[in-house]
Symmetry: D2
Subunit: 307 residues, 4 copies
């Protein structure tokens, strides 16, 4: 990839994550864009080769915009994942004290992740929302608000100081970013891969989700994430974002996906890519590629000459 868009402005967690990409180390340009939809549109239209966008956070859960943008429109694929720690600092102009603060600017997700701390300092009703934590810092620098909740690296960037550090409610919070690209030829298999997809349940019957899960279970494919999202049609209609262990080139993953394709009204493949944690799957006996291959040979024999 020659150019990669990320959710800007500069100074957000997204930039920190983007700097970890081997593609960037390899010389790809980084460009900030204003929103997730804008980032993905830039990929779809060929303005950029990739886009790094947040997919989920260990505290706040999924980033709905990203999910919804991946689930609709022209197909895009996840090519890589990056998991970065998220810590929030409480930033203000030099000399400002906590007791002076009347307004606190931040992004809604950051506000949500610092809810308990904000309540403890009686600032929960002082929050003013901005479209990014970097914007919040910028607006404090401009004097529009008294303080910002933002990434530590925003302090330097906007000439602020940390009045309080690491104020997030959860220790060890992380955000999982994904690098999105256009569909492409056979993807590299590392042996410690993840596969993502969206499944739309065919019929509105109870038990349909169990059937979907069973397509994975029966082939020994572990799920690492399940996330329901409304389809927008009406309450009670969901699609499911699923991450599973393994690569689409794996026999068991391929057969599970084919099974899904047959029982679901729609399946959208979102890519196979290396796991950021390099954890290789625990494979149940009978589910390796060699096992599938032996079974196929056996079946071929039975079909051709009865043994």
């Amino acid at each position: 990839m020659h150019s990669i868009a990320y959710l800007g402005p500069a100074g957000t967690f997204a930039e920190a994550a983007a700097r970890q990409l081997p593609e960037v180390a390899g010389g790809a340009d980084l460009r900030p864009v204003a929103s997730v939809p804008a980032a993905l549109e830039a990929v779809r239209e060929g303005m950029t080769d990739g886009a790094l966008v947040p997919l989920e956070n260990s505290v706040e859960g999924s980033v709905n915009t990203t999910l919804d943008e991946l689930a609709t429109g022209e197909h895009l694929l996840i090519r890589r994942e990056v998991i970065t720690p998220v810590t929030f600092d409480f930033l203000a102009l030099e000399g400002r004290h906590l007791g002076d603060v009347r307004t606190v600017a931040t992004h809604p997700h950051a506000a949500a992740q610092c809810r308990r701390w904000l309540r403890s300092v009686e600032l929960d009703t002082a929050v003013r929302l901005t479209s990014s934590t970097a914007d919040a810092a910028a607006s404090v620098a401009k004097g529009e608000f008294d303080a910002a909740i933002a990434a530590p690296l925003a302090a330097d960037q906007y000439g602020l100081v940390a009045v309080a550090r690491d104020i997030g409610d959860a220790r060890h919070a992380v955000t999982r970013f994904v690098l999105i690209g256009r569909p492409t030829g056979p993807e590299e298999r590392t042996g410690a891969d993840r596969t993502s997809l969206v499944a739309y349940i065919a019929e509105d019957h109870s038990g349909a989700l169990m059937e979907v899960l069973n397509e994975f279970a029966v082939r020994g494919v572990n799920l690492t994430r399940i996330e329901s999202r409304p389809t927008g049609e009406r309450l009670g209609r969901y699609c499911f974002f699923l991450d599973c262990e393994g690569h689409i080139a794996d026999a068991r993953v391929g057969e599970a996906l084919s099974g899904l394709f047959r029982v679901c009204s729609e399946v959208r493949y979102l890519g196979s890519y290396p796991r950021a944690d390099h954890v290789a799957p625990q494979q149940r006996p009978g589910t390796t590629d060699a096992d599938f291959s032996a079974a196929a040979d056996w079946l071929r024999g039975l079909r051709s000459d009865g043994r």
Copy 2:
């Protein structure tokens, strides 16, 4: 209930929903509060008898703050649900045209639900976030922003006019509000009830979710909603918000909940209450209260004298 808090300010969808409550028709006072946490805290501390808060939207999905507040802290119960249509108007001061608009104020959820329309009029990067759609309308009235995306009823309230109407991306969008109260004695059973709970998976093994779903399936209890939320500990650890058909007083629901209690690390009961759509459950043969009672009699006979 004598007093009911709702997510204010006045002029939001929440107020419209609250006005549909029989408790309000029966004389309960309505009071706006600044946030969902504040509303639930008011109930917990006995400052109000109930709080009407949004739980999920047919387009945007769950309201995470509500889920997280119900899942932690002192136990509260859902006592009632209200489902209201959601339509968005594009409001501005009299005389303003679409072409003049540089900034659009609105709540993040409203922005998300009007994403496509905003892009079509090239205003997707003009959005400024406010903490409610009513706040957005108010800030336009004060001249802080050019236009607001808000509920139709906010126009009158803040002296604005609709430049465009019903601009939401999804037709027939609805929001499901729930009336929250403190735990209380046996709840009324109407025959068309819903039961809500949060289940924490005991072990981090693949298939754990299937086990949870199976506890319902084996007793013929249909699920109407499943929503995963991170527990905040780390990526890949979820709890599940589940809604099922039926009432905790139903034998099949009680046995399913007991089964959950045994296989989960924690189950938090969130209440049984009448369904807003009055749909009675379709019951599989062998799962009525009479069936459970006959089985219990049979078992008692076997245990006491072997037949």
Copy 3:
């Protein structure tokens, strides 16, 4: 097939069943043999092209000798099934009355199927076992025993008369015979086929049978019969004789069998053949050959160019 062995002697139900075979109508010779093992050995050694042997009876259940002979030794295949009604007559020499009878000869299965009647006439302890119902009739003709329980057609053959007719405990009893042959090239698919096999559970864990059944269920393949048999190693170790709807050439049956092959310690295929009742399978949506083929195309696309 030019020659077909059947479980003799002449005058048994097996001969009646054999006469229904299209192969016999087409000119194949019929030869009685002394036992099921002898019949199957004759096929294995090429002394005969086929053998018609009983597999199960609607009252007595499976014929263990047949199951055990099919499950071990050189592979043989079921080529056809024949279902024939079974009625028993109580035969004696002319002039003999029920009150005179002190000994009743018959085959153990026939004795079992007439248990209730025998008790009602107080002859349950008078039974003497013979190796076939025809032998029983022959021995009565020779004066060795007073009466025989045998097929109606044995009366003429051995010069006996029916003292009582249709004395079986169950109305409408039938026996299912199967025509066994050596393994052979691709088998004809009629659209109303059955497939038989023996599955040996890999691990001795509870739930292993559910896993086996699930391999069929997940591909929408209905089972028409399940029969456990001890493996002979020790109590609690079973293999399972399974009949399912469909033909090994069907995509869903092939994938189910491959799945079994992977999870079982051994699977022995026993053939695909036309159902005697000509009932075509009810196929769940998503499980036709066309559905499997569409899923395979989709997967191929994803694997080669990501969409």
Copy 4:
């Protein structure tokens, strides 16, 4: 129990098994009876307190007569199980050699279990069936047949010698006998118990057996045996004889049985009794009596005051 009937005549494996019963050691009389139905009828009519009958054999499988007699008629219960090794000797009059033998008397089950040996000495077509192995030995003593396959203890009893010893095809073959009694008050729980029952599937749908197995699996109750038997109505209609770990007084077993009662057309309880092998069940977390009791307390709280 004061008197116990067993499947005679004296000198069979059944007598050997009966002598192991603590009831016999405690002074109960043993009486041989002619058949399993006669033995169970004697219990039903109060002529004897108990009957020891064979239930299954590690080689030949279930004893169908016993299953069918337990499944119909007035209810009886299994009170105890005894597992005894089964070895067969080839008995003849003193001075007789294998080469001289033209006829071999034995019971059909014994013939089946010595099939391979009989073929190896070319005596497979020499078999003549008798109603017990003791009868076979007696008939050889009387000179009616040349040799008998029988229990070793029959040699002394009938004045025969062993021409060949331990000729059964399977090493370590065992037969499981059960002591049957009339239904009675609460049964002793030892902590290493087994529970037996017959389940009739309600609907003839594929997957019905999986539902039945699931009622056990979901409550963590392991099955130790599953045996299908035709109901006698028509091919393809089965009932299932199931043995599970645990005692009917166990909470998980009781709930599983109640579940079966609700989904099956009929369930016949056949008793809870100590396992002959004294193996205690491996219990999954969440399935002990204490777990069930804690869940019941929790549910009671929710139902009465909402928490």
